[in-house]
Amino acid sequence: MGDLLVDVLREAFTPTTAAFALAAIGLNFHFGLTGLLNMGQAGFMLLGMYGFAITIREGGSIWLAVLVALALAVAFGVLLGWPTLKLRGDYLAIVTIAAAEMVRYLGRSQNFNDLTGASTGIRGNEFKGPFENLSPFPDRMVEIGPFALHGTRSTSWWLVVVAWSIVAIFVVVFWRLSRSPWGRVLKGIREDEDAVRSLGKNVYSYKMQALVIGGAIGAVAGVIWSLGASVQPDSMGRPTTFWVWTLLLLGGAATIFGPVLGSILFWSSLVLVKGLAALWIPDDVLSQQELEPFSLVLVGITLMGLVIFRPQGMLGDKRELAFND
Protein backbone atom coordinates (compact mmCIF):
# COMPACT_ATOMS: atom_id res chain seq x y z
CA MET A 1 0.00 0.00 0.00
CA GLY A 2 2.84 2.39 0.86
CA ASP A 3 4.55 1.48 -2.39
CA LEU A 4 1.38 2.26 -4.27
CA LEU A 5 1.17 5.70 -2.70
CA VAL A 6 4.76 6.38 -3.74
CA ASP A 7 3.95 5.21 -7.28
CA VAL A 8 0.91 7.48 -7.43
CA LEU A 9 2.87 10.48 -6.21
CA ARG A 10 5.74 9.73 -8.57
CA GLU A 11 3.30 9.63 -11.49
CA ALA A 12 2.14 13.10 -10.49
CA PHE A 13 5.52 14.70 -11.35
CA THR A 14 6.91 12.38 -13.97
CA PRO A 15 8.07 14.10 -17.23
CA THR A 16 5.30 12.40 -19.21
CA THR A 17 2.72 14.06 -16.96
CA ALA A 18 4.48 17.37 -17.60
CA ALA A 19 4.46 16.68 -21.34
CA PHE A 20 0.71 16.04 -21.27
CA ALA A 21 0.13 19.15 -19.19
CA LEU A 22 2.05 21.13 -21.79
CA ALA A 23 0.17 19.62 -24.72
CA ALA A 24 -3.06 20.49 -22.91
CA ILE A 25 -1.90 24.08 -22.39
CA GLY A 26 -1.43 24.22 -26.15
CA LEU A 27 -4.89 22.81 -26.70
CA ASN A 28 -6.20 25.35 -24.21
CA PHE A 29 -5.09 28.10 -26.61
CA HIS A 30 -7.01 26.33 -29.37
CA PHE A 31 -10.14 25.18 -27.65
CA GLY A 32 -10.30 26.97 -24.32
CA LEU A 33 -9.62 30.46 -25.66
CA THR A 34 -10.54 30.36 -29.34
CA GLY A 35 -12.98 27.47 -29.61
CA LEU A 36 -10.90 25.74 -32.30
CA LEU A 37 -11.47 21.98 -32.45
CA ASN A 38 -7.95 20.67 -32.94
CA MET A 39 -8.24 16.89 -32.97
CA GLY A 40 -4.62 16.42 -34.02
CA GLN A 41 -2.55 17.66 -31.11
CA ALA A 42 -0.61 14.36 -31.20
CA GLY A 43 0.49 15.26 -34.73
CA PHE A 44 2.05 18.51 -33.51
CA MET A 45 3.76 16.54 -30.71
CA LEU A 46 5.12 13.93 -33.08
CA LEU A 47 6.46 16.58 -35.46
CA GLY A 48 8.19 18.24 -32.53
CA MET A 49 9.79 14.93 -31.56
CA TYR A 50 10.98 14.19 -35.06
CA GLY A 51 12.32 17.69 -35.58
CA PHE A 52 14.23 17.59 -32.31
CA ALA A 53 15.58 14.03 -32.49
CA ILE A 54 16.56 14.07 -36.15
CA THR A 55 18.34 17.42 -35.91
CA ILE A 56 20.46 16.19 -33.02
CA ARG A 57 21.14 12.83 -34.63
CA GLU A 58 22.41 14.70 -37.71
CA GLY A 59 24.79 16.71 -35.57
CA GLY A 60 22.77 19.85 -34.81
CA SER A 61 22.94 21.60 -31.46
CA ILE A 62 20.20 21.28 -28.89
CA TRP A 63 19.01 24.85 -29.52
CA LEU A 64 18.86 24.32 -33.26
CA ALA A 65 16.91 21.13 -32.57
CA VAL A 66 14.34 22.98 -30.48
CA LEU A 67 14.05 25.61 -33.23
CA VAL A 68 13.50 22.94 -35.86
CA ALA A 69 10.83 21.31 -33.69
CA LEU A 70 9.04 24.65 -33.29
CA ALA A 71 9.41 25.54 -36.97
CA LEU A 72 7.87 22.23 -38.04
CA ALA A 73 4.90 22.79 -35.73
CA VAL A 74 4.43 26.36 -36.99
CA ALA A 75 4.56 25.20 -40.61
CA PHE A 76 2.11 22.39 -39.86
CA GLY A 77 -0.26 24.83 -38.14
CA VAL A 78 -0.16 27.30 -41.04
CA LEU A 79 -0.66 24.49 -43.54
CA LEU A 80 -3.69 23.14 -41.68
CA GLY A 81 -5.17 26.50 -40.83
CA TRP A 82 -4.75 28.14 -44.21
CA PRO A 83 -7.58 26.27 -45.97
CA THR A 84 -9.74 25.38 -42.95
CA LEU A 85 -9.88 28.41 -40.68
CA LYS A 86 -12.17 30.21 -43.12
CA LEU A 87 -14.66 27.36 -42.81
CA ARG A 88 -16.88 26.28 -39.96
CA GLY A 89 -15.24 24.75 -36.89
CA ASP A 90 -16.00 21.11 -37.62
CA TYR A 91 -13.85 21.14 -40.73
CA LEU A 92 -10.76 21.94 -38.70
CA ALA A 93 -11.50 18.90 -36.51
CA ILE A 94 -11.72 16.62 -39.54
CA VAL A 95 -8.60 18.03 -41.17
CA THR A 96 -6.48 17.96 -38.01
CA ILE A 97 -7.34 14.40 -37.06
CA ALA A 98 -6.54 13.25 -40.58
CA ALA A 99 -3.36 15.30 -40.84
CA ALA A 100 -2.05 14.01 -37.50
CA GLU A 101 -2.60 10.45 -38.67
CA MET A 102 -0.82 11.29 -41.93
CA VAL A 103 2.20 12.49 -39.99
CA ARG A 104 2.22 9.25 -38.03
CA TYR A 105 1.79 7.05 -41.10
CA LEU A 106 4.46 8.91 -43.03
CA GLY A 107 6.78 8.65 -40.04
CA ARG A 108 6.35 4.92 -39.72
CA SER A 109 6.52 4.27 -43.45
CA GLN A 110 9.47 2.14 -44.61
CA ASN A 111 10.27 4.72 -47.30
CA PHE A 112 11.51 7.11 -44.64
CA ASN A 113 13.41 4.48 -42.69
CA ASP A 114 16.68 6.44 -42.92
CA LEU A 115 15.07 9.61 -41.64
CA THR A 116 12.47 8.54 -39.08
CA GLY A 117 13.43 4.96 -38.32
CA ALA A 118 10.02 3.83 -39.61
CA SER A 119 7.83 2.05 -37.06
CA THR A 120 10.72 1.41 -34.66
CA GLY A 121 11.28 5.14 -34.40
CA ILE A 122 14.45 6.77 -33.09
CA ARG A 123 16.14 5.23 -30.07
CA GLY A 124 16.91 7.43 -27.10
CA ASN A 125 20.70 7.11 -27.23
CA GLU A 126 20.69 8.63 -30.74
CA PHE A 127 19.45 12.03 -29.59
CA LYS A 128 19.36 12.37 -25.80
CA GLY A 129 23.13 12.93 -25.38
CA PRO A 130 23.32 16.75 -25.71
CA PHE A 131 20.43 17.24 -23.30
CA GLU A 132 21.80 14.83 -20.72
CA ASN A 133 25.27 16.41 -20.98
CA LEU A 134 23.78 19.65 -19.69
CA SER A 135 22.60 17.95 -16.52
CA PRO A 136 23.93 19.35 -13.24
CA PHE A 137 22.73 16.18 -11.49
CA PRO A 138 25.07 13.21 -10.85
CA ASP A 139 25.18 10.41 -13.39
CA ARG A 140 23.64 7.77 -11.09
CA MET A 141 20.44 6.95 -9.23
CA VAL A 142 19.48 9.72 -6.80
CA GLU A 143 16.98 9.26 -4.00
CA ILE A 144 14.97 12.25 -2.88
CA GLY A 145 12.59 11.28 -0.11
CA PRO A 146 10.84 8.09 -1.15
CA PHE A 147 11.48 8.68 -4.85
CA ALA A 148 14.39 7.10 -6.67
CA LEU A 149 15.13 8.43 -10.15
CA HIS A 150 18.30 8.56 -12.20
CA GLY A 151 20.04 11.89 -11.94
CA THR A 152 20.64 12.41 -15.63
CA ARG A 153 19.42 9.66 -17.92
CA SER A 154 15.97 9.44 -19.54
CA THR A 155 13.25 9.88 -16.92
CA SER A 156 15.64 11.70 -14.64
CA TRP A 157 15.56 14.37 -11.98
CA TRP A 158 17.18 16.63 -14.56
CA LEU A 159 14.32 16.09 -17.01
CA VAL A 160 11.75 16.49 -14.20
CA VAL A 161 13.19 19.89 -13.32
CA VAL A 162 13.42 21.05 -16.93
CA ALA A 163 9.99 19.72 -17.90
CA TRP A 164 8.14 21.34 -15.01
CA SER A 165 10.06 24.59 -15.44
CA ILE A 166 8.86 24.71 -19.04
CA VAL A 167 5.32 23.93 -17.88
CA ALA A 168 5.59 26.81 -15.39
CA ILE A 169 6.79 29.16 -18.13
CA PHE A 170 3.88 28.31 -20.38
CA VAL A 171 1.38 28.58 -17.54
CA VAL A 172 2.64 32.14 -17.10
CA VAL A 173 2.48 32.75 -20.86
CA PHE A 174 -1.10 31.50 -20.95
CA TRP A 175 -2.01 33.61 -17.94
CA ARG A 176 -0.51 36.74 -19.47
CA LEU A 177 -2.04 36.25 -22.90
CA SER A 178 -5.48 35.08 -21.80
CA ARG A 179 -5.84 38.20 -19.66
CA SER A 180 -4.68 40.59 -22.35
CA PRO A 181 -6.73 42.36 -25.01
CA TRP A 182 -5.33 39.74 -27.42
CA GLY A 183 -6.90 36.97 -25.36
CA ARG A 184 -10.13 38.93 -25.23
CA VAL A 185 -10.35 38.90 -29.02
CA LEU A 186 -9.82 35.12 -29.01
CA LYS A 187 -12.59 34.62 -26.44
CA GLY A 188 -14.84 36.80 -28.57
CA ILE A 189 -14.11 34.56 -31.56
CA ARG A 190 -14.96 31.53 -29.42
CA GLU A 191 -18.35 33.07 -28.69
CA ASP A 192 -19.21 34.44 -32.12
CA GLU A 193 -16.87 35.04 -35.04
CA ASP A 194 -19.18 37.29 -36.99
CA ALA A 195 -19.71 39.58 -34.04
CA VAL A 196 -15.95 40.00 -33.69
CA ARG A 197 -15.66 40.65 -37.42
CA SER A 198 -18.32 43.32 -37.18
CA LEU A 199 -16.18 45.01 -34.51
CA GLY A 200 -13.27 45.35 -36.91
CA LYS A 201 -10.99 42.47 -35.90
CA ASN A 202 -9.28 40.22 -38.42
CA VAL A 203 -10.71 36.92 -37.19
CA TYR A 204 -8.74 34.73 -39.60
CA SER A 205 -5.43 36.11 -38.45
CA TYR A 206 -6.28 35.63 -34.76
CA LYS A 207 -7.41 32.06 -35.32
CA MET A 208 -4.19 31.35 -37.17
CA GLN A 209 -2.11 32.82 -34.35
CA ALA A 210 -3.93 30.67 -31.79
CA LEU A 211 -3.56 27.53 -33.87
CA VAL A 212 0.16 28.10 -34.42
CA ILE A 213 0.95 28.98 -30.80
CA GLY A 214 -0.97 26.02 -29.38
CA GLY A 215 0.63 23.69 -31.91
CA ALA A 216 4.12 24.97 -31.12
CA ILE A 217 3.51 24.30 -27.42
CA GLY A 218 2.38 20.82 -28.45
CA ALA A 219 5.72 20.35 -30.22
CA VAL A 220 7.59 21.31 -27.04
CA ALA A 221 5.48 18.74 -25.21
CA GLY A 222 6.57 16.17 -27.78
CA VAL A 223 10.24 17.02 -27.20
CA ILE A 224 9.87 16.54 -23.44
CA TRP A 225 8.06 13.27 -23.94
CA SER A 226 10.75 11.96 -26.28
CA LEU A 227 13.51 12.89 -23.81
CA GLY A 228 11.77 10.72 -21.19
CA ALA A 229 11.11 7.84 -23.56
CA SER A 230 12.04 7.69 -27.25
CA VAL A 231 10.58 8.75 -30.57
CA GLN A 232 7.94 6.18 -31.40
CA PRO A 233 5.30 7.19 -33.97
CA ASP A 234 2.64 4.84 -32.65
CA SER A 235 2.73 6.38 -29.20
CA MET A 236 1.43 9.57 -30.87
CA GLY A 237 -1.75 8.12 -32.34
CA ARG A 238 -5.32 9.24 -31.82
CA PRO A 239 -5.48 8.03 -28.17
CA THR A 240 -2.82 10.57 -27.23
CA THR A 241 -4.89 13.40 -28.70
CA PHE A 242 -7.97 12.15 -26.89
CA TRP A 243 -6.08 11.94 -23.60
CA VAL A 244 -4.94 15.51 -24.01
CA TRP A 245 -8.57 16.51 -24.58
CA THR A 246 -9.73 14.45 -21.62
CA LEU A 247 -7.36 15.97 -19.16
CA LEU A 248 -7.99 19.48 -20.44
CA LEU A 249 -11.72 19.02 -19.87
CA LEU A 250 -11.02 17.31 -16.55
CA GLY A 251 -9.00 20.25 -15.30
CA GLY A 252 -11.27 22.85 -16.86
CA ALA A 253 -10.99 24.41 -20.32
CA ALA A 254 -10.00 28.09 -20.49
CA THR A 255 -8.65 27.98 -16.92
CA ILE A 256 -5.02 28.71 -16.15
CA PHE A 257 -4.13 25.69 -14.03
CA GLY A 258 -6.72 23.33 -15.53
CA PRO A 259 -4.33 21.55 -17.91
CA VAL A 260 -1.71 21.00 -15.18
CA LEU A 261 -4.19 19.80 -12.57
CA GLY A 262 -5.97 17.67 -15.16
CA SER A 263 -2.78 15.95 -16.25
CA ILE A 264 -1.63 15.23 -12.70
CA LEU A 265 -5.04 13.92 -11.61
CA PHE A 266 -5.59 11.86 -14.72
CA TRP A 267 -2.27 10.03 -14.72
CA SER A 268 -2.05 9.55 -10.94
CA SER A 269 -5.56 8.22 -10.67
CA LEU A 270 -4.82 5.79 -13.49
CA VAL A 271 -1.88 4.42 -11.48
CA LEU A 272 -3.97 4.39 -8.31
CA VAL A 273 -6.85 2.50 -9.91
CA LYS A 274 -4.47 0.00 -11.50
CA GLY A 275 -2.64 -0.54 -8.21
CA LEU A 276 -5.80 -0.97 -6.16
CA ALA A 277 -7.25 -3.36 -8.71
CA ALA A 278 -4.06 -5.43 -8.57
CA LEU A 279 -4.25 -5.51 -4.76
CA TRP A 280 -7.91 -6.30 -4.35
CA ILE A 281 -8.97 -8.27 -7.38
CA PRO A 282 -7.75 -11.88 -7.31
CA ASP A 283 -5.78 -13.19 -10.28
CA ASP A 284 -8.40 -15.72 -11.28
CA VAL A 285 -11.00 -12.97 -11.72
CA LEU A 286 -8.82 -10.54 -13.66
CA SER A 287 -5.37 -11.48 -14.92
CA GLN A 288 -2.46 -9.02 -14.91
CA GLN A 289 -2.94 -8.32 -18.63
CA GLU A 290 -6.59 -7.51 -18.07
CA LEU A 291 -5.90 -5.01 -15.31
CA GLU A 292 -4.71 -2.26 -17.63
CA PRO A 293 -7.82 -2.12 -19.82
CA PHE A 294 -9.97 -2.59 -16.71
CA SER A 295 -8.51 0.47 -15.01
CA LEU A 296 -8.90 2.48 -18.22
CA VAL A 297 -12.58 1.52 -18.22
CA LEU A 298 -12.91 2.64 -14.60
CA VAL A 299 -11.20 5.95 -15.31
CA GLY A 300 -13.44 6.33 -18.35
CA ILE A 301 -16.56 5.85 -16.25
CA THR A 302 -15.27 8.35 -13.70
CA LEU A 303 -14.72 10.87 -16.47
CA MET A 304 -18.24 10.32 -17.76
CA GLY A 305 -19.46 11.03 -14.25
CA LEU A 306 -17.38 14.17 -14.21
CA VAL A 307 -18.74 15.42 -17.51
CA ILE A 308 -22.28 14.78 -16.28
CA PHE A 309 -21.96 16.24 -12.80
CA ARG A 310 -19.22 18.80 -13.21
CA PRO A 311 -19.05 19.61 -16.91
CA GLN A 312 -17.00 22.76 -16.38
CA GLY A 313 -14.06 20.67 -15.10
CA MET A 314 -12.36 20.92 -11.72
CA LEU A 315 -11.46 24.59 -12.01
CA GLY A 316 -14.09 25.90 -14.41
CA ASP A 317 -16.76 28.45 -13.64
CA LYS A 318 -20.19 26.83 -13.42
CA ARG A 319 -21.93 30.03 -14.46
CA GLU A 320 -20.35 29.90 -17.90
CA LEU A 321 -22.16 26.69 -18.73
CA ALA A 322 -25.56 28.25 -18.32
CA PHE A 323 -25.27 29.90 -21.72
CA ASN A 324 -24.08 27.05 -23.89
CA ASP A 325 -26.27 27.08 -26.90
Binding site: P181, R184, G188, E191, A195, L199
Partner: protein, 281 residues
Amino acid sequence: MTDTNPFAHVRHEPGAAKEDPIIIADHVVRRFGGLTAVDVDHFEVQRQAITALIGPNGAGKSTFFNLLTGFDKPQHGEWHFNGRSMKGVSPAKVARAGKVRTFQLTKALNRMTVIENMRLGAAAQRGENLFAAFVPPLWRQREADITEKAHELLHRFTLYDKKDDFAGSLSGGQRKLLEMARALMSEPEMVMLDEPMAGVNPALTESLLDHIVKLKNEGVSVLFVEHDMHMVRRISDWVVVMAEGRIIAEGPPDSVMRNPEVQEAYLGVHHDTDLSEESTS
Protein backbone atom coordinates in the same frame (compact mmCIF):
# COMPACT_ATOMS: atom_id res chain seq x y z
CA MET B 1 -36.66 69.80 -39.25
CA THR B 2 -37.68 72.88 -41.22
CA ASP B 3 -35.08 74.70 -43.23
CA THR B 4 -32.34 72.33 -42.10
CA ASN B 5 -34.10 69.27 -43.46
CA PRO B 6 -31.51 67.65 -45.73
CA PHE B 7 -34.31 65.90 -47.60
CA ALA B 8 -36.19 69.09 -48.53
CA HIS B 9 -35.02 68.97 -52.12
CA VAL B 10 -34.64 65.24 -52.54
CA ARG B 11 -36.99 63.73 -55.11
CA HIS B 12 -39.35 61.05 -53.92
CA GLU B 13 -38.24 58.37 -56.35
CA PRO B 14 -36.09 55.21 -56.26
CA GLY B 15 -32.38 55.93 -56.32
CA ALA B 16 -32.84 59.62 -55.56
CA ALA B 17 -29.64 61.62 -55.14
CA LYS B 18 -29.04 62.97 -51.62
CA GLU B 19 -27.59 66.26 -50.54
CA ASP B 20 -24.61 64.74 -48.71
CA PRO B 21 -24.52 60.96 -49.19
CA ILE B 22 -22.37 58.78 -46.90
CA ILE B 23 -23.13 55.60 -48.86
CA ILE B 24 -23.42 55.43 -52.63
CA ALA B 25 -24.09 52.10 -54.32
CA ASP B 26 -24.32 51.41 -58.04
CA HIS B 27 -25.54 48.37 -59.97
CA VAL B 28 -25.19 45.95 -57.07
CA VAL B 29 -26.32 42.49 -58.10
CA ARG B 30 -26.30 39.40 -55.90
CA ARG B 31 -27.57 36.12 -57.30
CA PHE B 32 -27.96 32.83 -55.49
CA GLY B 33 -28.03 30.30 -58.29
CA GLY B 34 -30.93 31.33 -60.50
CA LEU B 35 -32.45 33.65 -57.93
CA THR B 36 -31.59 37.34 -58.08
CA ALA B 37 -31.76 38.41 -54.44
CA VAL B 38 -30.50 41.95 -54.90
CA ASP B 39 -30.48 44.11 -58.03
CA VAL B 40 -30.05 47.73 -57.00
CA ASP B 41 -29.30 50.30 -59.71
CA HIS B 42 -28.53 53.26 -57.56
CA PHE B 43 -28.78 53.89 -53.84
CA GLU B 44 -27.69 56.74 -51.63
CA VAL B 45 -27.86 57.21 -47.87
CA GLN B 46 -27.90 60.69 -46.40
CA ARG B 47 -25.26 61.52 -43.81
CA GLN B 48 -26.37 62.21 -40.24
CA ALA B 49 -29.91 61.08 -40.81
CA ILE B 50 -31.95 58.00 -39.96
CA THR B 51 -32.77 55.96 -43.02
CA ALA B 52 -35.07 52.95 -42.86
CA LEU B 53 -34.86 50.06 -45.29
CA ILE B 54 -38.18 48.26 -45.46
CA GLY B 55 -39.85 45.75 -47.70
CA PRO B 56 -41.78 42.48 -47.68
CA ASN B 57 -40.17 39.21 -46.65
CA GLY B 58 -37.62 38.04 -49.17
CA ALA B 59 -37.19 41.52 -50.63
CA GLY B 60 -33.41 41.23 -50.24
CA LYS B 61 -33.03 43.77 -47.44
CA SER B 62 -30.81 41.61 -45.26
CA THR B 63 -28.77 40.46 -48.24
CA PHE B 64 -28.25 44.05 -49.33
CA PHE B 65 -27.25 44.86 -45.76
CA ASN B 66 -24.71 42.04 -45.76
CA LEU B 67 -23.29 43.25 -49.07
CA LEU B 68 -22.86 46.80 -47.82
CA THR B 69 -21.01 45.57 -44.71
CA GLY B 70 -18.73 43.09 -46.47
CA PHE B 71 -20.34 39.99 -44.97
CA ASP B 72 -21.41 38.86 -48.44
CA LYS B 73 -20.00 39.52 -51.89
CA PRO B 74 -22.11 40.52 -54.92
CA GLN B 75 -21.60 39.28 -58.48
CA HIS B 76 -21.06 42.85 -59.57
CA GLY B 77 -21.49 46.40 -58.46
CA GLU B 78 -19.67 49.29 -56.87
CA TRP B 79 -20.34 50.90 -53.55
CA HIS B 80 -18.64 53.66 -51.66
CA PHE B 81 -18.58 54.67 -48.05
CA ASN B 82 -17.41 58.20 -47.37
CA GLY B 83 -16.02 58.30 -50.88
CA ARG B 84 -13.95 55.15 -50.38
CA SER B 85 -14.72 52.13 -52.48
CA MET B 86 -15.82 49.24 -50.25
CA LYS B 87 -15.84 46.68 -53.02
CA GLY B 88 -14.17 43.45 -51.88
CA VAL B 89 -13.28 44.95 -48.50
CA SER B 90 -13.48 42.51 -45.57
CA PRO B 91 -16.11 42.99 -42.85
CA ALA B 92 -13.39 43.85 -40.33
CA LYS B 93 -12.00 46.60 -42.56
CA VAL B 94 -15.46 47.96 -43.25
CA ALA B 95 -15.94 48.26 -39.49
CA ARG B 96 -12.57 49.95 -39.07
CA ALA B 97 -13.52 52.43 -41.79
CA GLY B 98 -16.27 53.62 -39.45
CA LYS B 99 -19.32 51.60 -40.51
CA VAL B 100 -20.34 49.20 -37.75
CA ARG B 101 -23.30 46.86 -37.94
CA THR B 102 -25.47 44.85 -35.57
CA PHE B 103 -27.27 41.62 -36.31
CA GLN B 104 -30.86 40.54 -36.56
CA LEU B 105 -30.13 37.60 -34.25
CA THR B 106 -28.30 39.37 -31.49
CA LYS B 107 -24.69 38.41 -31.17
CA ALA B 108 -23.86 39.10 -27.56
CA LEU B 109 -20.73 37.22 -26.56
CA ASN B 110 -22.44 35.10 -23.94
CA ARG B 111 -19.56 33.72 -21.92
CA MET B 112 -17.89 37.08 -21.57
CA THR B 113 -18.93 39.74 -19.12
CA VAL B 114 -20.82 42.81 -20.27
CA ILE B 115 -17.78 45.03 -19.70
CA GLU B 116 -15.52 42.66 -21.69
CA ASN B 117 -18.07 42.75 -24.52
CA MET B 118 -17.82 46.51 -24.46
CA ARG B 119 -14.03 46.62 -24.36
CA LEU B 120 -13.87 44.32 -27.34
CA GLY B 121 -15.76 46.90 -29.35
CA ALA B 122 -13.04 49.51 -28.96
CA ALA B 123 -10.57 50.26 -31.73
CA ALA B 124 -6.84 51.00 -31.57
CA GLN B 125 -6.01 48.81 -28.58
CA ARG B 126 -2.37 47.85 -29.14
CA GLY B 127 -2.71 45.01 -26.65
CA GLU B 128 -4.66 43.15 -29.29
CA ASN B 129 -1.34 42.50 -30.98
CA LEU B 130 0.17 39.20 -29.86
CA PHE B 131 3.58 40.59 -29.01
CA ALA B 132 2.35 43.76 -27.38
CA ALA B 133 0.05 41.60 -25.25
CA PHE B 134 3.11 40.42 -23.32
CA VAL B 135 3.98 43.97 -22.29
CA PRO B 136 1.10 45.48 -20.30
CA PRO B 137 2.66 48.97 -20.04
CA LEU B 138 2.07 49.28 -23.79
CA TRP B 139 -1.70 48.93 -23.44
CA ARG B 140 -2.71 49.59 -19.86
CA GLN B 141 -3.44 53.28 -20.39
CA ARG B 142 -5.53 52.60 -23.46
CA GLU B 143 -7.38 49.89 -21.51
CA ALA B 144 -8.24 52.39 -18.78
CA ASP B 145 -9.53 54.87 -21.37
CA ILE B 146 -11.57 52.16 -23.06
CA THR B 147 -13.06 51.09 -19.74
CA GLU B 148 -14.03 54.64 -18.90
CA LYS B 149 -15.72 55.04 -22.26
CA ALA B 150 -17.48 51.70 -21.75
CA HIS B 151 -18.79 52.80 -18.34
CA GLU B 152 -20.14 55.96 -19.89
CA LEU B 153 -22.01 54.04 -22.60
CA LEU B 154 -23.26 51.43 -20.13
CA HIS B 155 -24.70 54.19 -17.96
CA ARG B 156 -26.41 55.66 -20.97
CA PHE B 157 -27.85 52.31 -22.03
CA THR B 158 -28.83 51.49 -18.43
CA LEU B 159 -26.63 48.41 -18.32
CA TYR B 160 -24.06 49.69 -15.85
CA ASP B 161 -25.36 47.56 -12.97
CA LYS B 162 -24.90 44.50 -15.16
CA LYS B 163 -21.33 45.23 -16.16
CA ASP B 164 -19.79 42.26 -14.38
CA ASP B 165 -22.51 39.78 -15.36
CA PHE B 166 -22.08 37.38 -18.23
CA ALA B 167 -23.75 38.73 -21.36
CA GLY B 168 -25.59 35.42 -21.64
CA SER B 169 -27.52 36.21 -18.47
CA LEU B 170 -29.11 39.34 -19.95
CA SER B 171 -32.63 39.42 -21.36
CA GLY B 172 -33.15 39.58 -25.12
CA GLY B 173 -33.81 43.30 -25.05
CA GLN B 174 -30.81 44.02 -22.87
CA ARG B 175 -28.65 42.08 -25.32
CA LYS B 176 -29.90 44.30 -28.13
CA LEU B 177 -28.93 47.31 -26.04
CA LEU B 178 -25.53 45.78 -25.32
CA GLU B 179 -24.93 45.08 -28.99
CA MET B 180 -25.76 48.65 -29.87
CA ALA B 181 -23.62 50.05 -27.08
CA ARG B 182 -20.75 47.79 -28.11
CA ALA B 183 -21.01 48.99 -31.70
CA LEU B 184 -20.60 52.56 -30.44
CA MET B 185 -17.34 51.78 -28.62
CA SER B 186 -15.33 52.44 -31.77
CA GLU B 187 -17.07 55.79 -32.28
CA PRO B 188 -18.34 54.88 -35.75
CA GLU B 189 -19.53 57.42 -38.27
CA MET B 190 -22.32 55.14 -39.28
CA VAL B 191 -24.23 52.32 -37.60
CA MET B 192 -26.24 49.79 -39.53
CA LEU B 193 -28.91 48.08 -37.45
CA ASP B 194 -30.44 44.84 -38.69
CA GLU B 195 -33.92 44.68 -37.13
CA PRO B 196 -33.07 46.42 -33.87
CA MET B 197 -36.58 45.81 -32.54
CA ALA B 198 -36.85 42.09 -33.23
CA GLY B 199 -37.61 40.29 -29.99
CA VAL B 200 -37.51 43.39 -27.83
CA ASN B 201 -40.32 43.75 -25.31
CA PRO B 202 -42.46 46.91 -25.58
CA ALA B 203 -41.06 48.36 -22.35
CA LEU B 204 -37.60 48.55 -23.87
CA THR B 205 -38.77 49.66 -27.31
CA GLU B 206 -39.16 53.30 -26.33
CA SER B 207 -35.70 53.50 -24.81
CA LEU B 208 -34.16 51.83 -27.86
CA LEU B 209 -35.87 54.35 -30.13
CA ASP B 210 -34.59 57.19 -28.00
CA HIS B 211 -31.07 55.83 -28.23
CA ILE B 212 -31.23 55.75 -32.01
CA VAL B 213 -32.56 59.30 -32.25
CA LYS B 214 -29.84 60.40 -29.86
CA LEU B 215 -27.24 58.84 -32.10
CA LYS B 216 -28.42 60.97 -34.98
CA ASN B 217 -28.31 64.07 -32.83
CA GLU B 218 -24.69 63.26 -32.09
CA GLY B 219 -23.92 63.20 -35.80
CA VAL B 220 -23.96 59.46 -36.45
CA SER B 221 -25.62 58.22 -39.64
CA VAL B 222 -28.06 55.37 -39.14
CA LEU B 223 -29.39 52.86 -41.63
CA PHE B 224 -31.72 50.19 -40.31
CA VAL B 225 -33.77 47.29 -41.57
CA GLU B 226 -37.05 46.94 -39.77
CA HIS B 227 -40.47 45.35 -39.94
CA ASP B 228 -41.98 47.40 -37.17
CA MET B 229 -43.95 50.13 -38.97
CA HIS B 230 -44.48 52.05 -35.78
CA MET B 231 -40.75 52.40 -35.33
CA VAL B 232 -40.16 53.29 -38.96
CA ARG B 233 -42.74 56.06 -38.77
CA ARG B 234 -41.56 57.40 -35.52
CA ILE B 235 -37.87 57.81 -35.99
CA SER B 236 -36.89 57.62 -39.63
CA ASP B 237 -36.21 60.70 -41.72
CA TRP B 238 -36.25 58.79 -44.96
CA VAL B 239 -37.61 55.42 -46.00
CA VAL B 240 -36.33 53.20 -48.78
CA VAL B 241 -38.62 50.38 -49.90
CA MET B 242 -37.28 47.21 -51.46
CA ALA B 243 -39.27 44.49 -53.20
CA GLU B 244 -37.93 41.52 -55.12
CA GLY B 245 -34.38 42.76 -54.81
CA ARG B 246 -35.05 46.22 -56.24
CA ILE B 247 -35.67 49.58 -54.72
CA ILE B 248 -39.24 50.48 -55.65
CA ALA B 249 -39.82 53.68 -53.73
CA GLU B 250 -38.16 56.30 -51.56
CA GLY B 251 -39.49 59.17 -49.53
CA PRO B 252 -40.36 60.50 -46.11
CA PRO B 253 -42.21 57.92 -43.98
CA ASP B 254 -45.72 59.28 -44.44
CA SER B 255 -45.67 59.82 -48.16
CA VAL B 256 -43.89 56.57 -48.91
CA MET B 257 -46.57 54.61 -47.10
CA ARG B 258 -49.23 56.26 -49.23
CA ASN B 259 -47.44 55.28 -52.43
CA PRO B 260 -49.78 52.79 -54.16
CA GLU B 261 -46.87 50.78 -55.51
CA VAL B 262 -45.56 50.29 -52.00
CA GLN B 263 -48.95 49.37 -50.65
CA GLU B 264 -49.37 46.84 -53.38
CA ALA B 265 -45.93 45.29 -53.02
CA TYR B 266 -45.60 45.32 -49.32
CA LEU B 267 -48.37 46.56 -47.19
CA GLY B 268 -51.31 45.24 -49.13
CA VAL B 269 -54.08 44.19 -46.79
CA HIS B 270 -51.66 44.50 -43.89
CA HIS B 271 -51.50 48.24 -44.27
CA ASP B 272 -51.13 49.91 -40.89
CA THR B 273 -50.50 46.69 -39.02
CA ASP B 274 -47.42 45.65 -37.16
CA LEU B 275 -45.58 43.07 -39.21
CA SER B 276 -42.74 42.49 -36.81
CA GLU B 277 -43.95 38.98 -36.04
CA GLU B 278 -43.13 37.79 -39.52
CA SER B 279 -39.78 36.17 -40.21
CA THR B 280 -37.40 37.77 -42.65
CA SER B 281 -35.60 36.59 -45.69
